[in-house]
């Protein structure tokens, strides 16, 4: 997690989905930039660029496709079945699933997929980093 800053958010761009409570994409006013250090600034710029060029969406789709292809999705679904059986079909909630599934999901991503994705991100960074 990057360090939290308080800044005035007047425009929010990018897809704001319920689970994006960890990251907020925003357009920053010049007055706010002084309070941030270079690192954060760089990060913000990169994120902005990712969204603007549509690269983030492309990367998302690529990751999803690769994970389905390699069977990760079916594995995770089996895990979900376990959770459902544990918690009961009627009473399972999103939180239950998220809490159980996310750490396992992160761990089960195959190395090849991880490598490819990191490569693509790096390529983007070298292209757009100042």
């Amino acid at each position: 997690m990057f360090p939290r800053f308080t800044f005035n958010i007047t425009h929010i761009t990018g897809a704001l989905t319920p689970w994006c409570r960890f990251t907020v994409f925003a357009v920053f006013f010049p007055s706010d930039l002084n309070t941030m250090n270079k690192e954060a600034r760089l990060k913000a710029t990169i994120n902005q660029k990712l969204t603007e060029t549509g690269e983030r969406e492309r990367l998302k789709e690529l990751l999803r496709a690769k994970l389905t292809e390699c069977g990760w999705k079916d594995q995770m679904k089996a895990q979900c079945k376990e959770v459902i059986k544990e918690k009961g079909l009627e009473h399972v909630t999103v939180e239950d699933l998220v809490v159980e599934i996310t750490p396992k999901g992160r761990a089960l991503v195959p190395d090849s997929v991880k490598k490819e994705l990191l490569q693509r991100i790096r390529a983007f960074l070298t292209q757009h980093a100042s």
Binding site: F2, W19, T23, E39, L42, K43, I46, N47, L50, R56, L59, K60, L63, R64, L67, K73, M76, K77, C80, I84, L89, V92, T93, V94, L97, V98, I101, T102, G105, R106, V109, D111, K114, K115, L117, L118, I121, R122, L125, T126, A129
Partner: protein, 352 residues
């Protein structure tokens, strides 16, 4: 996991790498969350477990392994002996015959329209011709010009144009097809046509395509192909000469000899036949025996050779010269006509 080294200064490098990993983690978490939402919705909507087979249907669709029954449990020819009621005529028809019956019953399909049009033609013709004949003549099959036949004959007419009929009739379309149809139209769909009622052009066209041999019993011409096994080439040749005159064109069947032979032989035939134009060509092969030219009793198909066999009576050197060559070429023929040279000589006996 070892990563590639980037051509950057190390502090920037590490920063960039950290950034990279951050972005990567974000993406992976996004994917996980997406999956969770998908699963949760499927559970709540009730379709999460639909993809898996349940016990009940597993039992229902199990493979059957009993004798006399296929893997679905169905008996093989269960419907073989069943009868169905036709919705049109309300008759009980056997299952295997149901489709053709329905075709005819409803009047759809190729055959039924053909049969219907033929029946119409027959009815029209019989109506027009029934005035011409006496009642006596109706019983006399030989002399009727094509009026209503007895049921036995009608049966052979029924399948005249059906697809099951011999294929030799089919390729002959165009002039002959139409002429045959027109003739049949006039004279009922018998297996033969009465030559007396045809014009010269019709006779000519008929003879170029069909066998044309006139039957002894019914005085009708055979409408089968030129290679019909019931009649020999000799009979065909005789019929052509009889109907078209002495300068009859040569038979087209099995024409392997060069045409140079035809011209002198045509002239020869005119000389020989001029005396008696009324020779009956319908005599059977075994009717008359003759001792002329035993050495020429080889399978002969061409009229050229047959004329040459009578060279003894005609006495033309031209013909006999060509006879040697033509007999050599013809002896290698595969087909053996039923007539012997005796019949050929018998015709010449009539002249002499």
């Amino acid at each position: 996991m070892k990563m590639e080294e980037m051509p950057l200064s190390s502090p920037d490098n590490t920063k960039l790498e950290a950034l990279m990993h951050d972005i990567y983690s974000e993406l992976v978490e996004d994917a996980c969350l997406g999956l969770c939402f998908e699963v949760h919705r499927a559970v709540k909507q009730g379709y999460f477990f639909l993809g898996e087979p349940d016990q009940e249907s597993m039992k229902e669709f199990e493979i059957v392994d009993q004798p006399g029954v296929d893997i679905f449990g169905q008996v093989f020819n269960q419907w073989k002996n069943k009868e169905c009621e036709c919705p049109n005529c309300n008759r009980l028809i056997a299952a295997s015959r149901f489709a053709p019956h329905l075709e005819k019953c409803l009047g759809m399909g190729r055959n039924s329209s053909r049969i219907a049009s033929r029946r119409l033609a027959r009815n029209n013709m019989s109506k027009s011709e029934s005035d011409q004949e006496d009642n006596d003549d109706l019983n006399d099959n030989d002399w009727s010009y094509g009026a209503e036949k007895k049921a036995k004959k009608r049966r052979s007419d029924k399948n005249q144009n059906s697809p099951r009929r011999s294929k030799s009739l089919k390729p002959k379309n165009g002039e002959i097809g139409s002429s045959i149809n027109s003739e049949s139209h006039k004279y009922n769909h018998n297996t033969g046509i009465s030559y007396e009622s045809l014009g010269p052009e019709e006779v000519r066209s008929l003879l170029t395509m069909r066998c044309g041999v006139i039957s002894e019993h019914t005085k009708k011409m055979c409408t089968r192909s030129q290679r019909c096994p019931q009649h020999t080439d000799e009979q065909r040749r005789a019929v052509r000469v009889f109907l078209l005159g002495p300068s009859a064109p040569a038979l087209h069947s099995a024409e392997l000899e060069s045409h140079s032979f035809d011209i002198p032989d045509g002239q020869m035939s005119r000389l020989q036949w001029v005396e008696s134009p009324n020779v009956s060509p319908s005599d059977s092969a075994s009717s008359k025996a003759s001792t002329n030219h035993p050495d020429s009793r080889r399978p002969k198909k061409k009229k050229t050779l047959s004329l040459n066999s009578g060279g003894g009576s005609g006495g033309l050197t031209e013909g006999s010269g060509s006879s040697a060559q033509s007999s050599l070429s013809l002896s290698s023929r595969k087909k053996k006509p039923k007539l012997s040279a005796a019949f050929i000589s018998s015709i010449y006996d009539d002249l002499n």
